[in-house]
């Protein structure tokens, strides 16, 4: 029977791993992720989950253990944050390169130095090019739903790639919200047991991930690119099907809000998308035609969706909880790249906000929108990258 529980996003991620009938979890504690794996450890130890929980000695080992388990043909899960994710970097390439559908919760936390435990996207976005699918969530329900959807997606033979489910530390990880957990039979019906694309099998021994000469390496890379393109299409189908079955739908790759007639579209990721909706409502009360598009899937990047939004809007404002030093926010770069070559593309203004956990409220976003509208009116972005609320 479906039930509604009130819990933190981290515990909800644990409930999702249980609902997905994950078989192997390998994890190492790190703030603010830890309570995910604590919840799972509790489920495993009290018998609610029929799984193996491996207490490894570092995140690098956690990812490698997940790769081993997935290669043996079972559904695997792990979770980490910031430096833990950075330590996994080498193994992340091996998970995607080996085409193993590992799902990992990344509880976003800013990278040091200096030390910070508060959220921004610098950890997961630094892993942009590892071949992992990246989802960003805006609330606890979405964390649950996206983990279930991710297994469905990643285990599809047209994809066979790993995925990160990103959720911002503390803003979501330690915040209680009501979440509907669907009936287990219905989840099982939506997400059947994992059927591996390849498996390490003593009866049919073969060698995997061996040295590949220059004659073939590129083809392996191309297949990953193809899988990413397939994922783009499948994410939308799976989201729709999930919505039909369980009542929660997130617009596939991009969650759009009042974009139909908008002059200005605010482009955000994660919880900033929720604040952007409030900002949109407040701006609309003043008669300003503003909409919000929350990038839910960052890899594969929704290029076509950006182009469609560009047909209508005169101005885009990207809000990055991240900075690519020496350039701008990733979102700004990706959006501009998506629009290059379009006829009369909208102006794009890039804003950097919320680094290291600084709050990005609807008021902050209203401020960003008003500045962008001013630039829209004069037909020129006066400052390509604006750091919001920066101290002198």
């Amino acid at each position: 029977m479906a039930q509604t529980i009130i819990d933190t996003a981290n515990h909800i991620a644990g409930y999702a791993a249980k609902a997905a009938r994950v078989k192997v979890i390998a994890a190492y504690p790190i703030t603010p992720q830890t309570t995910i794996v604590e919840k799972i450890a509790e489920f495993v130890e009290n018998g609610e989950m029929d799984s193996e929980y491996i207490r490894v000695e570092s995140e690098h080992s956690a990812m490698v253990a997940c790769i081993g388990a997935a290669a043996a043909g079972v559904r695997t899960f792990t979770a980490t944050s910031a430096h833990g994710l950075a330590l996994m970097h080498e193994a992340l390439h091996w998970a995607s390169g080996s085409r193993l559908p590992i799902v990992m919760a990344v509880v976003n936390r800013a990278m040091g130095a200096p030390w910070s435990i508060w959220p921004d996207f610098s950890d997961s976005l630094s892993q942009r090019d590892t071949g992992w699918i990246q989802f960003y969530c805006a609330d606890n329900q979405e964390v649950f739903d996206t983990i279930i959807q991710a297994y469905k997606l990643c285990e599809d033979e047209r994809v066979y790639l790993p995925a990160m489910i990103c959720l911002e530390g503390f803003i979501l990880s330690h915040t209680y919200m009501p979440v509907k957990i669907p009936d287990q039979n219905e989840i099982d019906d939506f997400l059947p047991p994992y059927k591996a694309g390849w498996i390490l099998d003593v009866n049919r021994p073969f060698s995997h991930s061996n040295l590949v000469s220059p004659e073939w390496y590129m083809e392996f890379r191309y297949m990953i690119q193809e899988a990413m393109e397939n994922a783009k299409r499948l994410i939308q189908q799976i989201d729709k099907e999930y919505g039909k079955r369980f009542g929660f739908e997130y617009g596939g790759l991009v969650e759009k809000y009042k974009c139909e007639d908008a002059d200005l579209i605010l482009l955000t990721m994660g919880t900033m998308g929720s604040e952007a909706k409030i900002a949109v409502n407040n701006l609309r009360k003043e008669g300003l035609k503003v909409g919000s598009a929350r990038i839910r899937v960052y890899r594969p990047f929704p290029v076509e969706e950006m182009r469609r939004l560009a047909e209508q809007a005169k101005m885009f404002a990207t809000i990055d909880r991240h900075i690519s030093f020496g350039m701008e926010g990733f979102l700004a770069t990706e959006v501009k790249a998506s629009l290059a070559g379009e006829k009369e593309p909208p102006l794009v203004a890039g804003f950097i906000a919320g680094l290291g956990g600084r709050d990005v409220t609807s008021e902050t976003i209203v401020k960003i929108a008003k500045k962008s509208l001013k630039w829209m009116k004069i037909g020129k972005v006066e400052k390509e990258t604006e750091w919001v609320d920066l101290r002198d």
């Binding site: 190492y28 504690p29 790190i30 703030t31 830890t34 309570t35 794996v37 604590e38 450890a41 509790e42 130890e45 009290n46 929980y53 207490r55 000695e57 570092s58 995140e59 430096h83 833990g84 330590l87 040091g112 030390w115």
Partner: protein, 279 residues
Amino acid sequence: METVMAHPFAKYLREAMMPHIWCSGCGNGIILNCFVQAVDELQMDLNKLVVVSGIGCIGRAAGYVNTNSFHTTHGRPIAFATGIKLANPELEVVIISGDGDLFAIGGNHFIHAARRNIGIKVICANNFNYGMTGGQQGPTTPVEALTTTTPYGNIEHPFNLVHLAAASGATYVARWTTLHVRRLTQSIKKLLQKEGFGFIEVVSPCPEIFGRYNKMRTGLEMMEWFRKVSAIENFSDPAKAEITPERIVVGEFVDIAKISYEKLIHEKIAEINEKKMQW
């Protein structure tokens, strides 16, 4: 009566960083106190002293001491300290870090630093779990102990840290608990004067996290455990010096002389340069 407002060791601490973050009953303050006392007794030049720490509660120690210090990433203080010592062998490099940092995520660095006998000094606070992240099982968690990731008891065997250090080649190895403050202070003094790689394990109470799950909810109860079961057995076989609920063997286990890595490397460089001159 004269009122003294400043702590006699205030000059060794960064007052701006106070109050510290450690829980009541935690042993980290005792370890820091013993360290500072040893530094004071040796009249060490603070400009030549570097304190390095990694992740975890005691990782904050690097920020609290008023010396050159660096709070580095998870598990990497030994690698970091190796760089410091090789770049400037004049510096006295001390690592104050925890069991999880030094023996799980950074375990590899420990055995290799000891093997090379590089002249850095490691003081490890062993609280049997990952305290800062809320008490998960780690490489020193005793068998059957309860933690948040072993709610029905730990099945993994812990490291015997003094045995590991001795087997890896450390020139000085000791273990004390935070109850043994005088012996610990004297031991740190000895450690700081040794050539090569030295190691002290300090068994430390963590009543708020580890103790909470293991029926020792106050610092006093944990100290009472140390008092009851500690046995001083200097220069006994470190292989047999395990930590169990019934027995904690403490003392000095290794104190030998061995030329340090930094001396060897600079000798080698001099030797090669000399040969080059002859050519």
